[in-house]
């Protein structure tokens, strides 16, 4: 292949908050993970492995948040995931029977039955329930660059009144990444793509070489960026910032112009969990009461309005292929044009939530496969790359400080700081200060005190997950998000109190250690001042 005119960097960010409730036999919100495993993580692994087997040239960046990795590693959640898959396979088998007289639905029931059964087999027999190792292998092979994220996806700009807390999120993530993937991460996906000036100093200390911002993060950098968002900039700390490309984002995310809204694609909302007779689906619902998504969805988007047509996978597959072709064509034109204007090979950065592919956009993994294959074989204008590879090809870049930004609605911090959720920050900030106090006092001679301090760090981090604020503003699980925030803060406060009084309730400590068992090797000294002496955020 001749020298390309530019590069496309696809970035998939996989994240879910830590949800694990051993105190209940089954728990609704644990489904978030099981759905992501079934509909996104396994399909993506299958896709990348297929590309490796066939030696298709490709590059992609995947950020796996430490909470996702932590849950993928948890044997209890693994076990529950297998149970869920067995249940869904059983339900799909009953559906095959039930829809016998209606071939339009029968074909789909068969598809879902195969999908669930095959997913379970892959998960249990092929991966031995260990998806982290599967990702690690892909990372080692060199085509998938695996990056990290803040430990519990804390929204860093609103945490930065306590610099130690920010450092603890970043450093804990890097150490957990190293433990799981065998090396420190070169890149990080900042939670919600949220950057605030000075944050790069923290990343630098952790050995991170690049991160991503939203378009205006780089575009409004100072001094102004010579190449717009089509080249990385180096922060004064030397860490590189890559800006998100609007055009490729819009084509995938947008309701009106975006691919996932195509009338022939599968409709996300019309799930049999909500539609069929309650008595019939009851055994597959949680506690037999809450109607939930089962993943079996028979209709296509069709159009606005409630009158939906049955889904046709063959037509949808054709659509995915033509949308991939359209996306590639647009990148070719964009990159050709940019190359002429910039006088160097541009990089177009296209980041997405990994869970968009497969979970929300059922045909997303197919679209991605078409895009990767077509890019490899059907054109010569651009190539896929990763930030690390691009930086090694283009080490000389402008130095500028990115602007505060996030990829949330309106582009700044509002989603996570508004009427529904601004009450959390006074508590989170208080707790972060107290955590630093605990870490500074840290008593190595007492194993029990150490355990309690470590647990306090876990509780703080879990309370800091940006997911809770996001759900409070937009989600359907608001009471759960509020409860989680309060619960972790209250646990933190009780630990703080008991540690100070020297009266640690061992039974209770063991209980919360068992519940909130994220990051088994967490080192609370990352919160201590000595670790972060003299640095300014």
């Amino acid at each position: 292949m001749s020298k390309p005119k530019g590069y496309l960097s696809l970035v998939l960010h996989a994240h879910l908050p830590f949800v694990r409730h051993p105190e209940y036999a089954e728990f609704l919100e644990e489904d978030w993970l099981f759905q992501a495993i079934t509909e996104t993580y396994i399909p993506l692994l299958n896709l990348f492995e297929k590309l490796e087997d066939e030696s298709v040239p490709y590059k992609i960046t995947m950020s796996l948040s430490p909470t996702v990795v932590s849950m993928l590693n948890d044997w209890m959640l693994q076990e529950r995931c297998v149970r869920r898959l067995e249940k869904l396979t059983e339900l799909a088998a009953r559906e095959v029977e039930r829809t016998r007289w209606d071939p339009r639905f029968n074909k789909l029931a068969l598809m879902y039955h195969y999908f669930f059964e095959n997913t379970r087999k892959t998960y249990v027999d092929k991966y031995r329930r260990d998806l982290v190792s599967a990702f690690r292998k892909l990372g080692d092979a060199g085509n998938v660059e695996i990056t990290t994220c803040a430990a519990t996806h804390g929204f860093l700009p609103l945490m930065s009144v306590n610099k130690n807390a920010v450092w603890a999120q970043v450093e804990t993530a890097c150490r957990y990444h190293e433990r799981n993937f065998g090396r420190r991460p070169k890149g990080i996906w900042l939670p919600e793509c949220a950057y605030t000036p000075g944050l790069d100093e923290v990343l630098k200390r952790a050995g991170i070489r690049f991160f991503f911002t939203d378009t205006h993060g780089v575009l409004n950098a100072s001094p102004r960026p010579r190449y717009g968002i089509f080249a990385p900039i180096y922060c004064p700390s030397g860490v590189a910032a890559f800006g998100r490309d609007m055009e490729s984002s819009r084509q995938v995310w947008s309701a009106n112009e975006g691919y996932p809204g195509d009338p022939w694609y599968r409709d996300f909302y019309r799930d049999i969990g909500f539609e069929l007779d309650l008595d019939y689906v009851r055994p597959y619902l949680h506690g037999g009461v809450n109607r939930v998504h089962t993943g079996i969805k028979y209709y296509r988007i069709t159009g606005p309005g409630d009158d939906k047509q049955p889904y046709d996978p063959d037509v949808a597959l054709d659509k995915a292929a033509s949308h991939a072709g359209n996306f590639m064509f647009n990148r070719e034109r964009q990159i050709e044009h940019l190359n002429g204007i910039l006088g160097r090979e541009p990089i177009v950065v296209a980041p997405y939530d990994a869970e968009l592919f497969g979970h929300w956009w059922f045909e997303g993994p197919q679209w991605l496969e078409f895009l990767i294959r077509k890019t490899a074989f059907d054109q010569n204008v651009f190539r896929l790359t990763t930030p690390t590879e691009y930086l090694s090809m283009h080490p000389k870049n402008q130095i500028a400080t990115p602007s505060l930004s996030s990829w949330g609605y309106k582009g700044y911090n509002e989603v996570w700081l508004e009427g529904s959720n601004d009450w959390i920050y006074r508590h989170l900030h208080w707790a972060a200060d107290k955590m630093v106090e605990l870490a500074n006092r840290g008593d190595r001679s007492s194993p029990i005190v150490n355990r309690a301090i470590k647990q306090a760090a876990r509780e703080l981090m879990l309370a800091q997950s940006s997911d809770w604020a996001f759900i409070m503003k937009t989600g359907t699980a608001v009471p759960y998000a509020v409860k989680r925030t309060k619960e972790h803060l209250l646990r933190f406060m009780r630990l703080y109190d008991e540690i100070r009084r020297g009266a640690i309730d061992m039974e209770w400590l063991s209980d919360v250690e068992n519940k909130d068992n994220v990051f088994p090797e967490l080192d609370y000294s990352v919160y201590a001042d000595k670790v972060y002496a003299g640095e300014r955020l």
């Binding site: 209940y24 728990f27 919100e29 489904d31 992501a36 039930r98 016998r100 007289w101 639905f105 605030t196 000036p197 378009t215 205006h216 575009l219 409004n220 100072s222 001094p223 102004r224 960026p225 717009g228 968002i229 089509f230 490309d245 609007m246 055009e247 984002s249 995310w253 309701a255 996300f268 909500f274 019939y280 506690g287 939930v292 044009h337 940019l338 939530d353 869970e355 979970h359 930004s405 609605y409 309106k410 582009g411 700044y412 911090n413 509002e414 601004d422 009450w423 508590h427 900030h429 996001f470 699980a477 009471p479 409860k483 309060k486 619960e487 209250l490 009780r494 109190d497 209770w508 209980d511």
Partner: protein, 341 residues
């Protein structure tokens, strides 16, 4: 509930509590076993409550707290609140920014909202009627302390135009402040914060210098004229807000309402499905087929099969054959379904 109380409850009630708590093997337990299993599960929760009251005692001193989201103009208004406001290190003037307002940007506002909708789907397990809790949890929510008994003011940037602040002043500090009335006094100094610019920087560095018109071109290609979509919407809302509604100055009235577009058009709807249930019974060891396909019998020889029933005629021959193959009975119902819309 104490274990004693539990023992006096009806078994059905206990079963329901046990189901809520997710106690395994509950259906096989007798009343006493259920009661003790529930009591065991309830214990850790009581411990938590005890912890809470201890903390409440620690923070009962009266304090004054508050929070507020304010535009830059509110800096002056913050003064009467008697919290020493931190510096808002804004580089640009207030809402009205000089320079060209970049046009043609409003059309695209929806895709960022759409991104939020999609991201929200990640946390979607059920479509809950508004306000109904989605979890099976039964633990009652405990409350966080209302104050931490300290003097503190914190500024958090929300966007180029708005800074959010929360503060807390202890009773002692208030008294002290009153005593020294007339003097300069500070209870707390906030963190320093800087709001971001909403336009590209005017600083260009020598090494990477290009003419303005060329930068404008690259800015446009980078989506600059629509990145602003976020900023421009904000700018309009800000100007509207400063033009009128916020003049009351009441705390909290500065917060803007959530994004528009939530108002849903009237969408009355009705769905109807039809299913056919075929059920029956025979000898437990008999072989039964329905439309030629074998049916699995329950251990007592009964069976139930349900079908989605499309429009049209269904002939459903059901055949039962004795285990030794000697006897055979066929029953054939025919169903005709028609839907008028």
């Amino acid at each position: 509930m104490k274990e004693k109380d539990l023992r006096s409850a009806r078994k059905q009630e206990l079963l329901e509590i046990a189901a809520g708590l997710g106690i395994p093997g509950r259906s096989k337990m007798n009343k006493a076993e259920l009661a003790s299993a529930i009591a065991k599960m309830e214990k850790p929760r009581k411990a938590k409550k005890a912890g809470k009251s201890a903390k409440a005692a620690r923070t009962t001193k009266p304090t004054k707290t508050g929070s507020r989201t304010a535009g830059k103009r509110s800096k002056a208004k913050a003064k009467p609140m008697r919290a020493s406001a931190g510096r808002v290190g804004a580089k640009r003037g207030a809402a009205r920014r000089k320079g060209p307002i970049r046009e043609g940007t409003l059309v695209r506002r929806s895709w960022r909202e759409q991104q939020a909708v999609v991201q929200q789907a990640k946390y979607e397990t059920k479509m809950a009627p508004a306000g109904k809790p989605t979890t099976v949890t039964t633990v009652e929510a405990q409350e966080l302390p209302t104050s931490y008994d300290e003097d503190r003011i914190v500024l958090l940037v929300r966007d180029p135009y708005w800074v959010h602040s929360y503060w807390e002043i202890t009773r002692e500090s208030l008294l002290k402040a009153r005593a020294s009335l007339g003097d300069e006094w500070h209870n707390a100094r906030s963190n320093k914060t800087t709001t971001p610019r909403d336009v590209p920087s005017e600083v260009a560095d020598e090494e990477w210098m290009i003419p303005d018109w060329e930068f404008d071109k690259i800015y446009a290609l980078s989506g600059g004229f629509s990145v602003g979509a976020g900023s421009l919407e904000l700018k309009e809302m800000m100007e509207k807000a400063l033009g009128g509604e916020t003049s009351s100055g009441a705390p909290g009235s500065f917060a803007m309402s959530s994004p528009a577009g939530k108002a849903k058009a009237r969408g009355f709807w009705f769905r109807l499905g039809t299913e056919l249930i075929v059920y029956g019974a025979t000898e437990a060891d008999a072989n039964v087929t329905l439309q030629g396909r074998p049916i699995k019998l329950r251990p007592d020889g009964t069976f139930t099969v349900r079908f989605e029933l499309p429009d049209g005629k269904q002939v459903i021959p059901a055949v039962a054959e004795s285990a030794d193959g000697v006897e055979r009975i066929t029953i054939t119902p025919t169903v005709d379904k028609k839907t008028n819309k």
